[in-house]
Point group: C2
Chain length 289, copies 2
């Protein structure tokens, strides 16, 4: 007798497999204009993306519904990337396609005075998604091994211990029922130059620019090294990194949407069963004016 | 010399004027299938709605950008309505069309033990939108004069004072720079019966139903009276009520989107001026590798 495969066995995995940063991953060797897991051009990519909406909406609503019946599962999407790598566009176009009732975006800026008085994971823990939700982090605890490492904002001895602290933390988050999807948007230095230049050319983009962005750009190589280290040390079995080539915005949006979709497919959330007698309620309603 | 009209004078106001509940408003006389301010049918309505996206995105981004340069203005959209009136659909389809980075939805359920220890406006005050944001309330402080009034959850002497407390509170919110848009989704009793029936017929909708919904439906007349009182006493000059006929979902979505759009047009937010020397930064960037 043929064995029926479970949804988690038959779920699509094309982008998950193409983008997962495993053993021997080399950031410098990854072409930021490549489109792993996808053969088509921009038009085909946009068409493919539009075709995902209904399935995504269905899965998201099931995850949410499941939690109303006591389910504890949730999803956490972490978005990291250099300045101008397209984090805002992912929020607008990918996260914006989810039902906003089940989404919470947390944007992590430089820590406030209060946040600085706590361990670096404190503000992260406070922002973890509720059961049934898709939480989205625009930057995250990885800043504490990226900008902090590049500028030694804390002593080296302190930031170098954070990789294993992060791994232990993420293990607990996963154990509690949260699927963690860590995405790095990878752009080339030339592409960043072009995007910063566009912000300077267009007056309606000036508010997005500040001169400090150029100061940071001068540390490009150090940041690439810090990203490589974060991937090397924190791309774990339970919470791997996905590095998404992002010079082509259409591809990055398609890839991140598919990553979320593939993870939701594997979760395979189910509509809860009614906890009341449906026939009784139908009769009660029918008898009402 | 002809005087140039300001944006607030030329902003469109068709839905604002058609839906505003003024002196002599009579809820029982309002046809829940009517489409005030719009002549077309469903297909025309959906086309009109799709055409609003770009302008809405532009205005929302301007409001957000303005706040980054010190602006203090924000928008608060309050959605009230009977069970099944389509609040969730407004969240999904209207609020879902906004950029999620500048939106925060707060869903007010029965107050928690902690919330009950505070005055009824405490949890509302804690959820007001940040500068630049569009805050959205799925239910609100009006529950404290709706379900609370219908069931006398607090003594009459206490809830009857709340109307003037609400007016004083909303006056302060408006004075602080928040544009308040209060929307009641108005459905007919027959339409609610049909929608509850659909929830019972379809297993994937069962999680949205609970038998208490039918208990509440038995108080239909009392709720209509409580809504009429809320509109009579709290449709003020600074924060009027807009009562949106909602038996046709396509119309309700079109109407609420237009209400937000018309209010944003009147705010007329502007791109901030650069606070740095654009030419200097262009040269710095050009000189970088």
């Amino acid at each position: 007798m043929a064995k029926t495969k479970s949804a988690s066995e038959t779920a699509p995995t094309a982008f998950t497999e193409a983008l997962r940063a495993g053993e021997g991953f080399d950031l410098l060797a990854l072409d930021a204009r490549s489109t792993p897991g996808f053969d088509g051009d921009k038009a085909a990519g946009e068409e493919a993306l539009a075709g995902l909406g209904d399935r995504l909406a269905d899965l998201q609503e099931r995850l949410y519904a499941e939690s109303k019946a006591g389910g504890t599962r949730s999803v956490l999407l972490i978005i990291q990337g250099m300045d101008t790598s397209g984090k805002g566009g992912i929020m607008r176009h990918v996260v914006g396609a989810f039902d906003p009732q089940g989404v919470e975006i947390t944007s992590f800026k430089a820590p406030t005075a209060e946040e600085k008085r706590h361990p670096f994971l404190w503000r992260i823990r406070n922002a973890l998604p509720r059961a049934g939700d898709i939480g989205v982090f625009d930057r995250s605890h990885y800043e504490d091994v990226l900008i902090v490492r590049v500028h030694d904002l804390v002593p080296r001895g302190q930031w170098s211990r954070r990789y294993s602290q992060i791994n232990a933390f993420e293990q607990k988050v996963v154990d509690s029922g949260t699927t963690v999807i860590k995405v790095m948007l990878h752009i080339s230095s030339d592409e960043q130059k072009a995007r910063l230049s566009e912000r300077l050319e267009r007056p309606e983009k000036h508010w997005k620019f500040n001169p400090g962005d150029l100061d940071e750009r001068a540390y490009w190589g150090d940041y690439q090294e810090a990203y490589q280290a974060a991937v090397d040390q924190c791309s774990t079995e339970v919470a791997p990194w996905f590095v998404v080539p992002a010079d082509r915005k259409w591809y990055a949006r398609l890839a991140v949407t598919n990553l979320v979709l593939e993870h939701l497919e594997r979760l395979d959330p189910q509509w809860p069963k009614a906890d009341f007698d449906v026939e009784v309620e139908k009769r009660r309603l029918a008898e009402m004016p």
